[in-house]
Symmetry: D2
Subunit: 354 residues, 4 copies
């Protein structure tokens, strides 16, 4: 009953096998491995982006921070939702890598920016006024931090505003695969066709050991990205072990299969929770994350029974004052099983409290 | 005949097995995995340092830059050899992580700082003069970039000077295991007993996929280190895969076995080269690295035959003007075999030139 | 009718005279001038703070950014009002000087933080959670950006909360003199006795050419401040010209006289505006700043007649949606005259529109 | 007998008068003052550079650091002489403003880079190699830190090499006026015609209170410069006082008159010292600085008699081991008089020792 995060899972057997296969012999390091060439070719085909540049790093924070720093100057404003991972969960990595850019909140329900709020923020930014930080970049997240799904048209609406104002668009895709499967969109539709300039394609939360691809749809930024990656200590010498994992993940469409499974487990969980009168589901589910409220006594009983999930501070909700009860975040993964979901749901049939 | 770098090797079977074993089930992320607890305990025992704090990162550049940044302010001078990895090979990572500290060269033969030069540098630094950067830290490397060995007493001599001037001491131990085995010293003798305050213990060049431990002998720096690591995008979520590798490497003394093998291969190579009249061996060999000069025509023939090694710019030597011939750098690893060495040496018995 | 800002004024004759007097002969530079010694002594006496350290810089942005950077680490959260100068008007100087700290908004009416909101922000900050930036510093402004006055007890309430959570307190005193005179408080009451740890005492907006004192009530931060100042390019070589101005400003209480005059001019202006039915005064006036709304046609006519003032974006107000009319900001200075105020007020007696 | 530095002087009467004249009335701030428009026009004419952009700051360190940061990325190598002010005397300001660029020493006699050494440094830099910092910028100084003069052709030789390798050229002109007068060159010949892309034109050491102009011959960098200046806390609100000083300095060619006087005083001093057998003059004098050696006992007697000058560490000389006697640095200024020089020289006719 481990629903705390998708990054508490291990990796599927195929990935272990890919690592073992990659282990033989001497191979050039630092990204010059043949597996990286293969991965680049496959991702370009998959994203219908023959000129895109692809680079690997080991964490989502590194991917995001390097992507932002390569597209936004130190005096730039990065527009994001107040719940964005880059704002809340990276201990200031974007500020560190950009040299002090400012993250500016844009409001919106369900973890999604409203187009109106973005337009207003950009119109009131002091562009050309030396006293103010300058509009620098738009950063979106899909799935959002509220577990909701941005459809390609949602991304396109916001990206169009950003582009109109001359800003490049970043997509934090730590759960891109879950979003893709949920939307039934192609990788291209969910990224550059919707206006994304740089995508952080998360592998770690969807079955890899610690591999994230940064896809630069504007290859002119590649050399700067590469230098910033090195300088950030993120250029792996034994790079083949990263490439091999991601090749194993893309090949045979494993990545979408894993994400589809995680989403299906969340759907099963959601259906079960919906049957409980005491449970209030929050946010429309987009993929493999569920947010819900239930009485304090239920939390106590669940946790005593060994259920593991994250309890968000009350301010997570868009209007937290309505209901002081804390919010449970439940995340399923590629390795979650029907039995685990059912065991968790069965706990709700027992009396609450320890 | 791959002698380009020890990081072009793969990993031994034990490490693959450790990864597979670590894969089962759900495990808390971000360093809270039980394997990390075990590793910490084992390293504290091994280093006879019960209060030391231990953290893992995936690259040597990250380990070094975070270690420096946690001990040296932005206005600090970091004293290092002009050939130090932090000066030459990290694309300015130390400057980036420290917020702009200055690396100051201290001269010395064979890639090793001279105590006299260090003392002179510290005495002439403008301590207390606001116009000058302030003495900040001493950074040593063992094995050095010239492949030479610093014995515990060599480290102690330099560290004593640094401590006398109030500076903490960093040891870049990308090849610490090779040095340790070569010196026949204990881990404690080669680190804190010799005055090292923070050690970057390299695993990647000695059989891991990309795991480096930073050992803080002064635990007061730990929280700052941890925040800087996160902020630098270097806190792995599926941390268990790093911990497990290093546990597998320490257990049963595998790490010293691997390093001993690499050193033995270099010894075999050195002995063979010494028999060639055309070969000039440079620097006294400390562990698994050899620097040598031979005629241009020999380079051409070796490379045509598939030998892979790095040719350093002529300025690598301490007095490069004596001899314009470029310097070959040959590095053996845990996976180098007798047969590979012998095949390489056999090439010297053929005529030079393509 | 120049009411755009107090920094569009010149300097009083006493300051020009002080400059001329300071000009004679050769004088040691970089803060070692005797006038600086005298200023330090006088400010320590004035602030009843014999151990305080005092340093001069030429701009308020430099003063604030250096004060923040000397008290808050790169991973710190700096709590401030969303309208704070450090947040809005310094093009990211705090982020640059701190190495990427994050400015976090704390709500409150009239440009003043609410104690409840500060307490809530600090309680929900993830102290000790490595993913989050860590509570770093509290930054207040007096007069606030809304021209309102924080009384010593207002400062003390907020500072007590900050200190309870271990945070040092910064006061941006660009208009400290105006606030002091308005509150009838002593310098000590308005600063360290209320819990301020570092004060930026603004001279520029109150009659100097570009001189701001940073007063560190915790002298342990002085050496770091001094190095950061130098490194920021803010250590003046011909420092005597700064010291001499501020000595001339403190001596004979000129600084409070100038501020008192500016405040009186604002009071006269406020009284006149209050008589106009079309004018809505916003925020309770604290010193020399007035915010007001009036019809668009009136703006046109005033500006056509040569009146100069700043029109703030509508979002300046605490609830801008109530009233879409833009906000006029009127600032008086030491050099504003009765005649100028009366001439401006007289324009309201004419018909609006061009 | 104050020969410690040209920045221990005051300012000539014309500058005080210019300040007084600039004081009247309300004037827009932050560089929008009419005097700045006038100054820009005059400097463009003087430098025969109609498209150049001009910005003022208060210190040489700020001018240099902002100029470098606007032309060189964080991963850039800035080539400079080991004695350069940016390397030795700015407490790491270039590293801070650039975000961690690396200053790389280029050898040469008399404080001047040798073209051969520059060419060698650029050829051996790892351009395109991700592990190395990338060639970023060339920084020259005129007068050099050894007081020697770079003639336009000396600058042009080095700048041509830099440009050939794609690097922009910075000239630290803290004593540009002294160099200009000594060379008998035009401002254009000494700057952009010789290949300088950005010039820091020093006013402070030549009669201003703290005013340095940065002249960007490539106006495409202007907006970035302006934002970096603001963000660095270097945009003065009462900017008119800086503009007015520099207008007063340029008008009537006062700046060259002052520099010519300082140079003439140094010439007089040099001639007197040359007559003393115990004095060894070091470096060919370029303008208003003299370096010399004399016996320790003479230092004692001079200082006891009130002579003020700087004694450089012995390593200042190009080959300090020849002669352990410390080096005296004597600097004349616009306000040095014949009588002061003669009084200083007369001390040499007395017996040495206290």
């Amino acid at each position: 009953m481990y629903l705390a995060s998708d990054n508490t899972s291990g990796v599927p057997g195929q990935i272990l096998a890919a690592l073992a296969a990659a282990n033989a012999g001497f191979v050039p390091g630092y990204g010059a491995d043949p597996a990286m060439d293969s991965l680049r070719t496959q991702l370009r085909a998959l994203f219908e982006a023959p000129a895109a540049e692809v680079f690997l790093v080991t964490t989502g924070s590194a991917a995001n921070a390097l992507a932002l720093a390569s597209h936004c100057p130190p005096w730039g404003a990065i527009y994001c939702h107040r719940l964005a991972h880059i704002e809340v969960d990276e201990c200031g990595a974007p500020e560190f890598f950009t040299g002090g850019a400012k993250l500016v909140h844009v409001a919106g329900r369900n973890g999604m920016m409203s187009a109106q709020a973005l337009e207003a923020a950009l119109r009131s930014a002091g562009r050309g006024v030396v006293h103010n930080v300058q509009p620098g970049m738009l950063s979106l997240t899909n799935l959002t931090e509220c577990g909701t799904l941005m459809r390609p048209e949602d991304i396109a609406d916001l990206a169009a505003i950003a582009h109109h104002h001359g800003l490049p668009v970043h997509l934090d895709g730590a759960r891109f695969a879950n979003a893709l499967v949920a939307a039934g969109a192609t990788p291209a539709e969910m990224s550059w066709k919707a206006g994304v300039d740089v995508l952080c394609l998360g592998g770690t939360k969807n079955g890899l050991m610690g591999v994230e691809a940064v896809i630069l749809f504007d290859p002119a930024r590649a050399w700067e990205f590469v230098l910033r990656r090195k300088r950030g200590g993120h250029l792996m010498s034994k790079h083949r072990f990263m490439s091999a994992q991601m090749v194993g993940w893309i090949e045979g469409d494993l990545w979408r299969e894993l994400a589809g499974h995680a989403n299906a487990m969340a759907e099963r969980l959601e259906a079960g929770l919906a049957r409980q009168a005491e449970v209030e589901l929050i946010y429309p589910r987009g993929g493999n994350m569920i947010f819900a409220r239930w009485p304090e006594a239920r939390h106590a009983q669940l946790q005593a029974a060994g259920a593991q999930y994250f309890v968000m501070p009350a301010s997570q909700g868009d209007d937290p004052d309505d209901d002081p009860r804390a919010l449970a975040r439940l995340v399923t993964s590629w390795s979650t099983t029907d039995a685990q979901i059912d065991a968790f749901l069965a706990l709700f049939d027992r009396p609450a409290g320890r």
